[in-house]
């Protein structure tokens, strides 16, 4: 892996992930022996600049949610490092313990996918949003109340509704409560784990606009996890494509969609339905299913379904290379392949 050490380039980086790996052990039998590992995140490296949105796309089981949670240290990593910028210094998230870690958690928050199960039904909106503020001792009493009011206003909810329970709100409103809770401690980085997938189309657009406004206002950095390729393209500056725990390709959004360099990205883009009745994409149907993550194929993980597969792909693990500025690919033949982008043909 190439690490650029020139100072001015690195100054703006807020999050750096290096060779991050997370395996979940599989236990069997009476002695609970470890018989295998689900390789949820496998040797992933990337960095995120302050104020940008990095989209992470992939199919279910590709490890995108696990990646987000390991970065937040909700799960302990198997190996690798995550550095986060705090007061101008890059701190290793995994070296912190106790109160140090708690302090860091203020700067990294998460918005969950399902607004129905991520809010405690027995707590009022006031209690839900004030909880992080109380835990971190930021404010209390009248000040706390006015801060919660402020947050509710920020996400477009009525302050009068502070004492209601989550069941009084619709899906979109609940997701706004979840966003207000994530914003309460004024974080720098927010992991958005499929924040709009559970919402109706018309409400989805409202929440996307809200997230964009908040980013502009507060200078937030997003790690935006989603399986919806059109939503990710809309909101992200750069996008990483995950498959079986590895990032296959990472590039600026426009470049990734127009000039993909990895066969998996190409196939993924070709599967998106078009809403224009006069155009169709040339479908690349991937044969078979996503392999079992506890026994990923040797060599390149995608070789079992790749239509450009060569002998070398079955044996050698490809290197994570930056083939052009900001465009990273995990493929032996990325330079030789001419792949189709998102453009479609008229019929």
């Amino acid at each position: 892996m190439k690490i650029n050490n020139s100072k001015d380039q690195n100054n703006n980086i807020i999050l750096e992930v290096k060779n991050l790996t997370k395996y979940f052990p599989i236990y069997r039998g009476f002695l609970r022996r470890v018989v295998g590992n689900v390789q949820a995140v496998d040797n992933v490296s990337f960095s995120v600049k302050g104020g940008e949105t990095l989209g992470i796309v992939g199919e279910s089981g590709s490890g995108k949610t696990t990646l987000g949670r390991v970065i937040l240290r909700a799960y302990e990593p198997t190996s690798g490092d995550v550095f986060f910028r705090k007061n101008g210094e890059m701190i290793n998230v995994f070296s912190l313990e106790g109160s140090e870690l708690k302090k860091l958690r203020r700067d990294m928050q998460i918005i969950f996918q399902d607004p129905y199960s991520s809010l405690n039904p027995r707590k009022t909106v006031m209690e839900i949003i004030s909880e992080p503020l109380l835990i971190h001792g930021v404010s209390r009493g009248e000040e706390l109340k006015s801060r919660v009011g402020e947050l509710l206003e920020m996400v477009g909810l009525n302050v009068q509704h502070m004492n209601r329970y989550p069941n009084a709100f619709s899906g979109g409103q609940r997701q706004r409560i979840g966003i207000a809770r994530a914003l309460a401690l004024q974080p720098k980085l927010i992991v958005c784990d499929e924040p709009v997938s559970a919402l109706d189309v018309s409400v989805q657009a409202q929440v996307i606009n809200l997230l964009e406004d908040l980013q502009n206002e507060l200078g937030l950095t997003y790690l935006f996890i989603s399986h919806d390729l059109s939503v990710v393209e809309h909101i992200s500056n750069r996008i990483a494509v995950m498959y079986l725990g590895s990032i296959m390709e990472m590039a600026p959004a426009h470049q990734l969609y127009q000039l993909p360099k990895h066969p998996y990205t190409e196939a993924l883009l070709s599967a998106v339905p078009t809403i224009d009745p006069h155009t169709r994409r040339i479908r690349i149907i991937l044969p078979g299913e996503i392999p079992n993550p506890s026994a990923p194929p040797p060599g390149c993980k995608f070789h079992t379904r790749c239509r450009y597969v060569q002998e070398r792909c079955k044996k050698e693990v490809p290197a994570w290379e930056e083939i052009s500025p900001e465009h990273w690919v995990l493929c032996h033949f990325s330079k030789n392949l001419h792949l189709q982008g998102i453009e479609s043909i008229k019929v």
Binding site: V201, A205, H227, S270, T274
Partner: protein, 336 residues
């Protein structure tokens, strides 16, 4: 009834209400649509708009105690003698509807995880349907089940037939559901959100599969979804629903290129277009779907409608369905 003969299914002014402890939910409020043999109709709308209840009304799969079809008719042309029957008049537990369910009208449900029984092998479940509707023996039915599994693209059909559903992936289970639905060669297939629970690559596979099987078996398809992309790729005609009512219907081109109803326009504008280089701000529909128990006077979409806000429309009454151009209908006061 000459006019009806070219239709496989014709729904006239259907009203299906739920009687709950909190009041009456008017889930379907006067829906009329017709399906021609071999064609695909797409039913679009957000959650709670009554699209699934419409589909369940056709097969009479609604809860007996709380739900009633209070008005309207569902005319269905039967396979063998082209006799037309009204499904709303049929006993929902009787033998007539049971000879239609699965045989002449089949259904694919949204969640392939929950709609297969976990305690029977997939073969068992497919063969059950085949034996029920055809006078054939078990070995022949098993043969047929295997050939159906092959035709939906399950390569190792001979071994998959003896697997339990939990051993299969989501995409495989959805294929099993499709194989089961098509096993008796129905004239109408109702697909209720057939790809919503699936990943894009699997969704693409299932859409291609449905299209090719439709040609092969020459059946009509009623596809229900909130995904406009899926509709655009599958449907010949589109019906847009909002709060139990049809707000717009027309051919695929008419609805996507010249949407008329403010709700349809809003829906199309609120999804990000992939590959669009100008990163425009999305234009969402303000507000959210009202409480299903609420009785809304006048136009149901009024409270979220830009024309009402700008006082271009009074929204004082429900609009009748008007035909703006041949085949393109809209229910909106702006056009009547």
């Amino acid at each position: 009834m000459k006019e009806n003969e070219q239709y496989l299914l014709k729904i006239n002014n259907l009203k299906t209400y739920f009687y709950t402890l909190d009041g009456i939910v008017r889930a379907v409020e006067g829906v009329s649509l017709s399906i021609k043999p071999g064609k695909t109709i797409g039913l679009v709308g957000e959650s709670g708009c009554g699209k699934s209840v419409t589909a369940h009304s056709i097969l009479r799969l609604l809860p007996l105690k709380t739900c009633k079809i209070i008005e309207g008719e569902i005319l269905f042309q039967r396979q063998n003698n082209h006799e037309i029957i009204d499904l709303t008049k049929v006993d929902p537990q009787g033998s007539l509807i049971r000879s239609i369910r699965g045989k002449e009208i089949a259904m694919i449900f949204q969640e392939p995880m929950t709609s297969l029984s976990p305690v029977y092998t997939v073969g068992n479940q497919i063969i059950e349907a085949i034996l029920l509707h055809n006078q054939i023996e078990y070995p022949e039915a098993r043969e047929h089940a295997i050939s159906m599994l092959k035709s939906v693209g399950l390569g190792m059909a001979e071994s998959i037939i003896d697997e339990y559903p939990h051993r299969l992936s989501g995409g495989q289970r959805q294929r099993v559901m499709i194989a089961m639905a098509l096993s008796c060669n129905p004239s109408l297939l109702i697909a209720d959100e057939p790809t919503t629970a699936l990943d894009v690559t699997i969704q693409a596979q299932i859409m291609e599969l449905l299209k090719s099987l439709q040609k092969q078996f020459n059946m009509a398809v009623l596809i229900i979804t909130h995904n406009l992309g899926v509709i655009a790729e599958m449907a010949d005609e589109i019906v847009v629903m909002y709060l139990g009512r049809i707000v717009e219907k027309g051919s695929l081109e008419q609805v996507f290129e010249k949407p008329l109803h403010p709700y349809t326009i809003g829906l199309i504008k609120s999804i990000p277009i992939i590959g669009n280089q100008t990163k425009k701000r999305l234009a969402p529909i303000p507000g959210s779907v009202p409480d299903p128990l609420a009785v809304i006077e006048g136009c149901a979409f009024r409270l979220r409608c830009p024309a009402y806000k700008q006082k271009e429309c009074t929204g004082h009454k429900e609009s009748p369905m008007v035909e703006v151009e041949p085949g393109h209908y809209v229910s909106c006061l702006l056009y009547s």
